[in-house]
């Protein structure tokens, strides 16, 4: 068993055929983490005994006749999703010592299907960032180029999958945080439509934008995980009551009959020439698979990043207000005379710079006197961006775009320039603003060996189309040397 290239599908088959046990599989994952993660730093927390105990329980269940789809498959979980009994730090000092008292709904569903939760992966603190350099706990390196960042904010999950230390992982995507690191590290990253997957148990960054999604080696694996995770959750009022199709079963076939749009605003200045070339090659591959390629326009794209930072920061400023040292996590040891002093000390010590920056920004845009100028305005632009997509999707079934304007940056390259860092998500934030689904699929590497991803965007709840396109492209790419 080669953990470095084992897919979830192959693991499921191997476990079912008793080619290996879950304990053996999990042991192999843990060994890979032991061997490689000292350099990469993808994981924040691994409890070998606990993981092996879960694996042994899965083996016992299988011996007893159980056969959940993911029975015994070990997964890595971004350290922002609650798994009962495990730490959930959000890569922040403010949640030091906190252990989740309950399972997120996606975790409960994966657990029901038999998954083993092997470890917690690194991220930008509270998912705020595009390089994982904003983790308050550790640095994660890109497995393809250890002097470079893995992307963010789900950089730990991307590095774990791409670095051969996990078969699959869960990430979260608020403005591109699944797709962008997947692209940077060379794995598949799926952001489902808003309302497709329950957010209950995901520590909220921006509630109207956040989604949980799989990060995998193949599009088929992403289909398998989405099939288990998706669907309405009575605990999350924003999930929709739409049937969850068998995504994996619907894969296969070419792209005949599909019309794919190239938004002209996504192929302009600032795009790295090598990224442009690799994405163009991918578009050609899709054409060879039978797709018709058309040019479309998303005219409000240029306002997307500003809109995103206003709305996301506004929501974040209130979502993060609960971290005050009263009930859980870290409380400042500095003696305080009033509750306010205790809050101020706790939050000053507990939050990192980027988180503070966004809390201040969010507080500002919501404050009286500025609300209409920023927040209301941003909501209107968001509506325009949604309409852009509605219009584009009248002309095509899905869109093809780059994921990111550049391949992975050198560590430290964006650290002192927050505005530059904010532009990294320029091609991904629109999907979150519009609530549509998107996937990043590897489309080759630069001459320097840096992975680049192709982004496919499809209308809300059209994950089936998205996965079909991603899968067909993936097959076509692999067929060519």
């Amino acid at each position: 068993m080669d953990i470095g290239s084992l897919t979830v599908r192959a693991a499921i088959d191997g476990l079912r055929k008793r080619q290996f046990s879950s304990v053996e599989l999990t042991r192999a994952v843990l060994d890979a983490i032991m061997a490689r993660d000292g350099v990469i730093g993808a994981y924040l927390w691994v409890d070998e005994a606990d993981a092996l105990k879960q694996a042994a329980a899965a083996d016992a269940a299988r011996a007893g006749g159980s056969d959940g789809l993911l029975l015994g498959v070990p997964l890595a979980i971004k350290d922002i999703l609650n798994v009962e009994g495990q730490p959930c730090t959000c890569a922040s000092k403010i949640l030091a010592g906190y252990r989740a008292p309950y399972d997120a709904t996606v975790i409960a569903r994966l657990r029901e299907a038999g998954a083993v939760f092997a470890g917690r992966t690194n991220l930008d603190e509270f998912a705020m960032g595009s390089t994982t350099e904003n983790s308050a706990i550790q640095l994660t390196r890109n497995p393809a180029a250890p002097d470079r960042v893995p992307g963010g904010s789900s950089g730990g999950s991307a590095a774990a999958v791409a670095g051969g230390m996990a078969l699959a992982a869960l990430g979260t995507d608020t403005g591109g945080s699944i797709r962008q690191p997947a692209s940077n590290c060379g794995c598949v990253g799926l952001k489902p439509s808003y309302g497709r997957v329950s957010r209950y148990g995901l520590v909220a960054f921006a509630s109207s934008l956040d989604q949980i999604g799989p990060m995998t080696r193949t599009v088929e694996d992403a289909s398998l995980l989405l099939g288990v995770m998706g669907g309405r959750d009575p605990r999350d009022a924003t999930t929709l009551d739409r049937a969850v199709p068998d995504y994996a079963a619907a894969l296969g076939g070419d792209l005949t009959g599909l019309r794919l749009g190239l938004p002209k605003e996504y192929f302009v200045t600032g795009l790295d020439p090598e990224v442009a070339r690799l994405v163009q090659d991918a578009v050609e591959a899709c054409r060879r698979c039978g797709a018709e390629i058309v040019e479309v326009s998303l005219p409000h794209t240029e306002y997307a990043v500003a809109t995103y930072y206003i709305l996301a920061s506004a929501e974040a400023s209130t979502n993060l207000a609960r971290f005050d040292g009263v009930r859980y996590g870290r409380r400042s040891a500095v003696p305080a005379d009033t509750p306010l002093d205790m809050y101020l000390n706790t939050r000053a010590e507990g939050f990192g710079r980027e988180v503070k920056r966004r809390i201040i920004l969010g507080t500002y845009v919501l404050s009286s006197g500025y609300y209409d100028a920023y927040y209301t305005h941003a909501q209107r632009v968001r509506t325009l961006i949604r309409r852009d997509f509605d219009e584009a999707f009248k002309r095509c079934d899905a869109l093809l775009t780059p994921v990111s304007p550049d391949p992975a940056y050198l560590i430290g390259a964006t650290a002192e320039d927050p505005l530059k860092a904010y532009l990294i998500d320029i091609f991904t934030v629109t999907a979150n603003l519009a609530g549509i689904c998107g996937i990043a699929v590897p489309c080759g590497t630069t001459r320097a060996g840096l992975p680049v991803g192709l982004q496919v965007l499809a209308p809300a709840f059209e994950e089936g189309t998205l996965l079909r396109i991603g899968h067909a492209y993936e097959q076509a790419r692999e067929a060519r040397p």
């Binding site: 148990g201 009930r327 404050s367």
Partner: protein, 480 residues
């Protein structure tokens, strides 16, 4: 120089809704449970937890709005109100800002001169309650049991012009809400609390004066007393040529004064914005119509109807209509015995006395309207006398059963046949010659004594009127 000012008072009343569970989670809304025993990740604001709307709380708020003549927002939204406080699990409160469930509406309050005054409502919205801090020597704790309890907030225009009117408003509101069953309105349990805005201005001034807010009043009498104090305090300041400063004060019940809490400068910027975790509440018009059709009569309307339909005094009608269960009970008894006046007399005196004595409301006692109607019928037919009836009423009130059945099985029917009565009268007259002599001498008290003795001899079964008449006849005979 002392002068009279015009007083404008507006209220923001918080009513705890009668739901089994909290507003956004499945935790029980139990009063008096051990601290932090009714909590979960949602009401504790734990990382990742999300609210889910309790539809029953929405229904109760909308039904209240319909009862108070509000217009209903068929699409209503929730907002986050941000401020930091140890009692606030998320440091924002989920409430309603610009699209509350109900708008406008009125409550008529009775005035001391017998007239009535409509008080206009601005809005009714739904929000979650906060937790409760507990301060002991050397430590403080927070009990989150109350956090997330559904509160309905009713906001009035500043239409009230005295402490008495404010008290009358709260009383009327409480009565209506009890009527429609949306809240227990139990003041001791904090089911009903209010914030009060009060401002004074000289007669002739159009604009309202500077307002002072009184926070967290939790009794009607406390609200009245605090307002009375505050009106006098502000009058004195104005009389002395001073200015009222905009501030928030609290009522110190022990010393009977209001105390400064914070000034306008400390006011929060709540940074309201739409709660992204909840969808808008959409209520179809036919649902609203269905609720409207099933509303009970307003207490004030019922009071007038009872007085008219049953020809009972206004005072009786007011007492009966004040409590929906009591009014229902009265109407059922009146139907059963065919006379509203007699039914009212019995309920107003004997039944309410038992209710008080046994601390048992009519809804919880064993007396059914049928049983009381039957009892009244037995008295009207002179089958039993009033004394027996009262004794029987208490028994049936406590233990239930049919009065007619009791009279039959225990032989309680009143004795009016002359033979039996004559025997008792003879015996009593022989045993008490002095009273007979006094009576002949014209002392009325002696007559009462002798009747009482006959009643005693008959174990209460004698018809006292008939005994009186027979005794009178005897006297006439003896004198004759």
């Amino acid at each position: 120089m002392k002068q009279t000012y015009r007083v404008s008072i507006g209220l923001e009343v918080h009513i705890q809704l009668k739901t089994q569970t909290k507003l956004f989670c499945g935790c029980a809304t139990s009063f008096g449970a051990p601290p932090n025993s009714c909590v979960c990740p949602v009401c504790l604001g734990y990382p990742g937890a999300m609210p889910v709307m309790n539809r029953e709380a929405v229904r109760l708020t909308l039904v209240s709005g319909l009862m108070l003549g509000c217009s209903i927002n068929t699409t209503s939204t929730f907002d986050r109100k941000s401020y930091f406080y140890p009692d606030m699990p998320k440091n924002y409160q989920i409430t309603q800002y610009d699209k509350p469930l109900c708008l406008d509406g009125t409550i008529d309050i009775p005035l001391t001169d017998g007239g009535r005054k409509p008080i206009r409502l601005i809005r009714i919205h739904l929000e979650e309650d906060v937790a409760k801090s507990m301060h002991e020597a050397g430590w403080s704790g927070v009990d989150f049991n109350r956090a997330g309890t559904p509160l309905m907030e009713i906001v009035t225009h500043p239409d009230l012009s005295s402490a008495d009117e404010a008290a009358a408003f709260l009383t009327a509101l409480r009565q209506i809400l009890l009527y429609v069953g949306v809240s227990a309105c139990n003041l001791e349990e904090g089911n009903m609390r209010c914030d009060v805005n009060v401002s004074l201005r000289p007669p002739g001034q159009d604009t309202l004066g500077t307002k002072v807010e009184l926070k967290n009043m939790n009794t009607i009498s406390g609200t009245h007393d605090a307002l009375q104090y505050e009106i006098e305090r502000q009058s004195a300041v104005l009389d002395a040529g001073g200015r009222i400063v905009q501030e928030t004060r609290r009522w110190d019940v022990d010393n009977g004064v209001t105390i400064h809490m914070r000034s306008k400068e400390d006011a929060h910027d709540y940074r309201y914005f739409a709660e992204p975790d909840l969808l808008p509440i959409v209520t179809p018009p036919d649902q609203i119509d269905a609720w409207r059709r099933s509303l009970p009569e307003l207490p004030a309307v019922r009071r007038e109807r009872l007085a008219r339909q049953y020809d009972i005094p206004d005072y009786d009608a007011a007492v009966l209509a004040a409590d929906r269960a009591l009014a229902d009970f009265f109407e059922a008894v009146a139907q059963r015995c065919g006379t509203g006046k007699t039914a009212s007399n019995w309920i107003m005196t004997d039944v309410l006395r038992l209710v008080t004595a046994h601390e048992t409301p009519v809804t919880a006692c064993a007396l059914t309207p049928d049983a009381l109607g039957e009892l009244i019928g037995l008295v009207e037919a002179q089958t039993i006398n009033a004394l027996t009836a009262k004794e029987l009423l208490e028994e049936v009130f406590l233990s239930g059963g049919s009065p007619a059945e009791q009279v039959r099985s225990r032989g309680l029917a009143q004795v009016s046949d002359s033979g039996a009565l004559d025997g008792w009268i003879d015996a009593v007259m022989q045993a008490h010659p002095k009273s007979v002599a006094d009576w002949k001498a014209g002392k009325q008290a002696a007559a009462g004594f002798l009747i009482g003795q006959v009643m005693k001899a008959s174990q209460g079964k004698a018809d006292p009127k008939r005994v009186g008449r027979l005794l009178g006849e005897r006297l006439a005979q003896q004198n004759g």
